[in-house]
């Protein structure tokens, strides 16, 4: 004789007195609510992000120069011109891409590691911690134009205070920070790190505080020193955040324009003009919308590839 176990599910007796729908209707809110909440943002996103991207893709296949009934659909001709490596447009564009690549390669390692070290320090307990957190984040509040103009004058080789102070403490004070390379790279990367270290540090700080204290305690009991704890406990827990920071830093560095336009003013001789700088010149000063769109698409594809690469690397490292 089987004893029926206490049934946890509603009984399925055919003679129902309560309709099926009524029993299942647990008030959880309308299923449409989430979509209403994201609706406004979705509309803005579609209009201001998605539509322009689609228009960009469309216009990159046309010869479109403001003020002229020029060309029309030219298919991949813009891309062919740019990828050929011949001619002024292509040479200047790839020059800009090289500058972007150099800047990204120089700035991303610093912008990933320095804020992390900073966050570790700011996570310790000491008096004035909140003040320091505010101080390191403060430069990020400034806009790029303010930062650019400010540092352009500070770094001026002749009349800028930076060289003056270097001379006062006995270091060489004639470096042309804004008109020569490689000093120009030091200027651009240095200013960018000063400007955005706070932002990455705040993200790291939030992630650090997520790491459960019991793990550190357990590791300490097991005899792990600070360095070992960092690598065995902290960083593995922050893997996702690290991945996020690396990807957004690469994208932000690749989109750098303001610093090179204002601090080094794309000197010497255009050698610090980034890809975005050349796209801005082509699109907004030469009014060549079609070509500028094609350049933007190529840059976007490169960045997508870079992001995928980073994700792959993190996935592989995570498995090790």
């Amino acid at each position: 004789m089987s004893t029926a176990a206490p049934s946890l599910s509603p009984s399925r007796s055919p003679a129902r007195t309560v309709p099926l729908g009524a029993r299942r209707r647990i008030r959880r809110g309308s299923p449409v609510t989430p979509y209403l909440f994201i609706g406004p943002f979705l509309i803005l996103f579609a209009v201001f992000v998605l539509a322009p991207i689609l228009v960009l893709a469309w216009s990159s296949t046309r010869q479109w120069i403001l003020g002229f009934d020029s060309g029309g659909f030219v298919g991949g001709e813009n891309y062919a011109t740019l990828l050929s490596g011949q001619g002024v447009l292509s040479e200047e564009f790839w020059r800009g891409m090289r500058v972007t690549a150099v800047f990204t390669a120089l700035s991303v390692p610093l912008l990933v590691t320095v804020p992390f070290a900073l966050a570790l320090l700011l996570n310790l307990r000491f008096r004035g911690r909140t003040l320091f957190r505010a101080v390191y984040f403060a430069p990020y509040v400034l806009g790029v134009a303010v930062v650019g103009v400010l540092w352009h004058f500070l770094l001026d080789a002749r009349v800028g205070p930076v060289n003056h102070l270097l001379g006062a403490i006995g270091l060489p004070d004639t470096t042309a920070w804004t008109t020569s390379l490689p000093a120009g790279w030091v200027s651009l990367v240095g200013v960018t790190v000063w400007w955005t270290v706070g932002f990455n540090a705040v993200i790291y700080l939030a992630a650090l505080q997520d790491v459960p204290g019991e793990l550190h305690e357990a590791a300490r009991i097991d005899g792990a020193g600070a360095w070992r704890r960092l690598w065995a406990v902290t960083i593995p827990h922050m893997r996702r955040v690290l991945q996020f920071v690396v990807v957004i830093t690469i994208i932000a560095s690749a989109n750098m324009y303001g610093q090179s336009a204002l601090i080094t003013q794309e000197q010497p001789g255009g050698a610090t003009r980034t890809a975005i700088g050349y796209i801005a010149q082509t699109g907004m000063r030469s009014y060549d919308i079609g070509m500028a769109s094609a350049m933007s698409m190529i840059l976007a594809v490169c960045l997508i590839a870079a992001s995928l690469l980073v994700n792959q690397v993190f996935r592989l490292v995570g498995k090790v």
Partner: protein
């Protein structure tokens, strides 16, 4: 002890169905993305099909009736864009206020934006009808906008006003012509002047700035002897000096028919070599950028700068004793870079007859009453305004002598000239002065770039 699985911030590939349990019916994530894509595509299709075409340089609509010299229509408002955002802004505001007082029927909405913004916005704004009716533009930019039809010819206006070359100077009057039509009426001219520090030159036994190449060399030697280590600073941005010297040595940026880039010839090499030699011989430091500050704080004794420095010294270094004179003749003949602000009429002004007439009234009045503009440090283009006390008392008056005016070298009317300049000779000047490349090689590379851009532009613009 295994560490508990701490829910880490989820990446883009870890959220989703697993957290939701079984996939629910109804609007799923895929449907939403599809909907957004369709919405975006629909918007795109709407944007691309029909709508206004950004038109080409069609023939401008003829004004309904020729301009009579006065405006007697109904009250109307016109928009005026200019780039006078610096020390010259107040003078333009004063002029506009004076115009409104003299012509109460016309209200002028003035917008002063930075020159790069003005140039990048004016094409699309006038196409949409929300741009200016009258725009102030630099002489060298007229061709780019005329070729696009953004600004319209003013020949009918100058004819009905009876303006001729004798009312201005021949060079600036001719400078506003592109493809045999006039697109701008000059407001003023500005040029590179030579400023010198009176006490520093006196200490070296000199009375005034040098006027020839020999005098220049002698002056810098004397100044160095008197203790000024770097008496004259040259910067990588001094392409205006390059253009001046190029003309002095008998060359020009482009050929007469504007089909060939010619600044890499012997004249160009001579010009750039003179500039480079200043750094090589130690007269100028190699990394000078802020020439104005160096002159104001006594680091340099002579500087070649545009006329804005006059007001700048008055504002920030009042009391500095300095002299001002024409650019020296280093080459074979006098010649100095000059540019000019012009008034241009945009294509949207004639959309309404009253606005078109009012805009023409504005342009002609401003041109006639430009004496007050001398306060901005520029040289009025109108000959009558140059007789006025407001100008003759100004510090830039020595630069309006007839011989100096005759030596003005305006940039040629080449569409897209600024973009070509930025990537070609301006870069060559920068590289040569910074010592990164020999002048001849830098100019040769620049000529190749400029020629290619010139050819492409001529093909696009159909000229």
């Amino acid at each position: 002890m295994t560490s508990p699985q701490h829910p880490a911030p989820s990446g883009p590939d870890s959220a989703g169905e697993a957290a939701q349990g079984t996939a629910r019916p109804g609007i799923g994530r895929r449907h939403l993305l599809a909907g957004a894509g369709i919405a975006g595509a629909a918007l795109t299709a709407a944007a691309c099909s029909g709508g206004q075409s950004i038109g080409g340089a069609e023939d401008p609509p003829a004004a309904a009736e020729p301009f009579s010299g006065t405006y007697d229509g109904p009250d109307v408002t016109i928009t005026f864009w200019n780039g006078f955002t610096g020390g010259d802004g107040p003078y333009m505001k004063q002029l506009v206020a004076d115009f409104t007082a003299a012509n109460p029927a016309i209200t002028v909405e003035q917008s002063s934006l930075e020159w790069p913004d003005l140039y990048s916005k004016v094409v699309t704004a006038t196409d949409a009808g929300s741009g200016p009716d009258v725009a102030a533009m630099h002489l060298d930019q007229l061709a780019s906008f005329a070729a696009r039809g953004t600004i319209v010819p003013l020949d009918d206006l100058t004819e009905s006003l009876g303006l001729t070359a004798s009312d201005f100077t021949p060079a600036v009057w001719q400078g506003g012509v592109f493809q045999d039509r006039r697109y701008g009426i000059p407001l003023d001219m500005f040029t590179v002047a030579q400023y010198w520090s009176t006490p520093m030159l006196a200490a070296a036994g000199l009375e005034s700035g040098p006027a020839t190449a020999e005098e220049f060399a002698a002056a810098t030697t004397a100044l160095q002897g008197a203790g000024v280590a770097a008496p004259f600073w040259i910067s990588p941005d001094n392409w205006q000096i390059f253009v001046s010297l190029l003309g002095q040595f008998g060359g020009s940026l482009y050929s007469e028919d504007l089909t060939t880039a010619t600044f890499g010839d012997d004249a160009g090499v001579a010009a750039l070599t003179w500039m480079r030699d200043l750094v090589v011989r130690g007269v100028s430091p190699s990394d000078a950028t802020d020439l104005a500050t160096a002159f104001k704080n006594g680091s340099s004794a002579i500087v070649h700068e545009l006329l804005w420095l006059i007001n700048d010294i008055e504002d920030t270094a009042d009391g500095l004793e300095y002299g001002i004179g024409p650019f020296p003749t280093i080459g074979d003949a006098p010649g100095v870079f000059a540019n000019s602000h012009h008034f241009a009429l945009t294509k949207q002004a004639d959309a309404d007859e009253d606005r078109g007439q009012a805009a023409r009234m504005f342009i002609s009045w401003m041109s006639e009453n430009s004496a007050t503009w001398a306060g901005s440090g520029n040289i009025p283009a109108r000959a009558s305004a140059r007789q006025d006390d407001a100008f003759t008392q100004g510090r830039q008056a020595p630069l309006a002598g007839d011989d100096v005016l005759d030596s003005f070298l305006f940039l040629q009317q080449v569409p897209g000239s600024r973009e070509i300049a930025a990537d070609s000779y301006q870069r060559a000047v920068s590289r040569a002065v910074l010592g990164e490349e020999e002048p001849a090689a830098a100019l040769a590379a620049a000529v190749t770039t400029a020629q290619e851009m010139l050819d492409r532009n001529r093909e696009l613009y159909g000229i």
